[in-house]
């Protein structure tokens, strides 16, 4: 039984309640269904408003207890869209309830790719790199600028997701797919992430050799020779080696970290790294 309230949209207050709940989307993250309970919890204001009987409410909650996983900040977009779809299903009954989960599932992958490239691959490393440079000089402004920047990003992305996602509703998904907007944004984020990662490697990964060899009379420092040919070749080389071991050899990142640490110790003892 749905209420006779076709024009009864969610109020700003109810949307803020969803916004606040969305922040807890991964507070009970688990390896069985990931952010499922956080998603169901975000839907409570909608379900409470549009479903009257316990049976209908339980059915709607269970619908959102299905597996869900994407980048936590951008997960606000499917939360907003699902809120609009639940409202429409409850008040007009002109969409299938299954389509709500279908839309969520369809958005998971593309949004994860977008969020990871844009936030983890580009914005966060950039702000952190800037912060590190200042902190190394002993300035507290480094961590503070990083913190303020990230606070704006996380709160802003979530606001956009919940409010715009709700406004756009299911139509937004259609529009996003028709215009190829998500894949376009993912591609642009990948461009930015590649530039930033490529640019960071020679400055952030610190690897220098102390090997010296004699050519005739002169003692030649291998690092200086390398710097003359391709500066940053060692940081680049070790990163590509790690990428190769990670992707082709399926090595665990932990194992690689321990090996790199040991390599550092061995390198110092053999007098080839410093």
């Amino acid at each position: 039984m749905s209420r006779n309230n076709e024009t009864n949209k969610l109020t700003r207050k109810e949307l803020w309640s969803i916004y606040f709940r969305q922040i807890f989307i991964r507070s009970a993250l688990n390896f069985e269904r990931h952010q499922a309970m956080g998603f169901a919890n975000s839907m409570i204001p909608v379900i409470r408003k549009y479903y009257d009987t316990k049976e209908e409410q339980a059915e709607a909650l269970k619908r959102h207890m299905e597996l869900f996983l994407t980048q936590p900040m951008v997960s606000a977009i499917p939360v907003g869209i699902a809120a609009a779809m639940e409202e429409r299903y409850a008040t007009k009954k002109d969409i299938e309830p299954e389509s709500i989960n279908a839309v969520k599932t369809a958005l998971m992958g593309p949004l994860a790719a977008l969020g990871d490239s844009l936030i983890n691959g580009t914005l966060r490393p950039l702000l952190a790199g800037f912060g590190i440079a200042l902190a190394m000089k002993g300035s507290i402004a480094g961590p503070l600028i990083f913190l303020i920047g990230m606070t704006i990003i996380t709160l802003g992305v979530r606001y956009y997701g919940v409010f715009k996602g709700y406004e756009g509703g299911a139509k937004m998904v259609e529009d996003l797919h028709k215009s190829g907007l998500i894949s376009k944004l993912s591609e642009l984020s990948a461009v930015a992430a590649y530039v930033v990662i490529g640019g960071f490697i020679p400055q952030i990964v610190n690897m220098k050799t102390t090997i010296e060899y004699t050519a005739g009379e002169a003692v030649i420092n291998l690092q200086e020779t390398l710097d003359g040919l391709i500066p940053g070749i060692l940081p680049l080389g070790i990163t590509i080696l790690m990428y190769y071991l990670l992707t082709r050899k399926k090595a665990s990142p932990i194992l690689l970290m321990v090996l790199v640490m040991l390599f550092g110790v061995v390198g110092v003892y053999l007098n080839i790294l410093g």
Partner: protein, 251 residues
């Protein structure tokens, strides 16, 4: 010392809760190092250790379902050790990795066992349409962070330096130096992980451009960000109206 250790433990607990909710990034070594430095009255060392550990774990973040080594507890304990033993950043690097690995095991247990228990309870409350209990099940795991991360941090900071300092004295300088060298290179693993998370691999030439402007021209981090903006805009301009299915098929 009791109060300081308690405050560091509370900060770590908050930072982990932040990571699981708001994501203001107080969990990052850069911020946690600063906080622990302030608590222990040595901001300068806190900033330095925070920046150094951040360099190690800069690119090591939670992507998909792969739990990364824990950067928060490790940075807090590393900063505390650096300040309290008076040994500075080198000892911090040597401390950070092992603690990060233990932290990762704890996180994995939390996500694979403890929180699975909570979602099963959540299922029951969902089928009863019990909103309050469902919210409780979704929120309670946050409190457990006090036990999983706060308590070990407290014990390590309160008892650690006294017990650990004599052993630290015994470690040969070359090993400490080796850890510092290893810590400098460890960022490579994080960047490899980030590269692996990018799905549009056909765009790899941009990686090369980023590397070249940085390594050959020595443009700083902010400059690299500006170049990224320029290239994104150009890429957008030149691919306008073109079919994007190639990128989409990667998903």
């Amino acid at each position: 010392m009791f109060i300081e250790a308690l405050l560091v433990a509370l900060w770590v607990t908050w930072a982990i809760i932040d990571e699981q909710t708001f994501q203001f990034q107080t969990t990052r070594p850069l911020v946690t190092g600063m906080a622990v430095g302030l608590i222990l009255g040595d901001l300068k060392t806190g900033l330095l250790v925070g920046a150094t550990v951040e360099l190690m774990f800069l690119a090591t973040v939670f992507v998909g379902t792969a739990v990364p080594p824990d950067p928060t507890v490790s940075c807090a304990i590393a900063t505390a050790f650096a300040i309290m033993t008076g040994k500075g950043t080198d000892i911090a690097v040597a401390t950070a990795l092992p603690v990060a690995l233990i932290g990762q095991v704890v996180t994995t247990l939390q996500l694979s066992i403890v929180n699975v228990f909570f979602i099963h309870r959540g299922d029951r409350y969902a089928s009863e349409a019990n909103f309050k209990k469902l919210t409780l099940m979704n929120t309670l795991p946050l409190l457990l962070n006090l036990l999983f991360y706060g308590l070990p941090t407290f014990l390590a900071v309160y008892y650690g330096p006294t017990y650990v300092t004599p052993y630290i004295e015994m470690i040969p300088d070359k090993i400490i130096q080796g850890f510092a060298v290893g810590g400098g290179m460890i960022g490579a693993v994080g960047f490899a992980l980030l590269l692996n998370s990018i799905q549009a691999t056909h765009l790899w030439p941009y990686f090369l451009i980023g590397f070249i402007v940085s390594a050959y021209l020595g443009i700083n981090i902010l400059g690299i960000g500006l170049i990224a903006v320029a290239l994104v805009t150009l890429h957008s301009y030149y691919t306008e109206g073109k079919d994007n299915t190639k990128a989409e098929s990667n998903f």
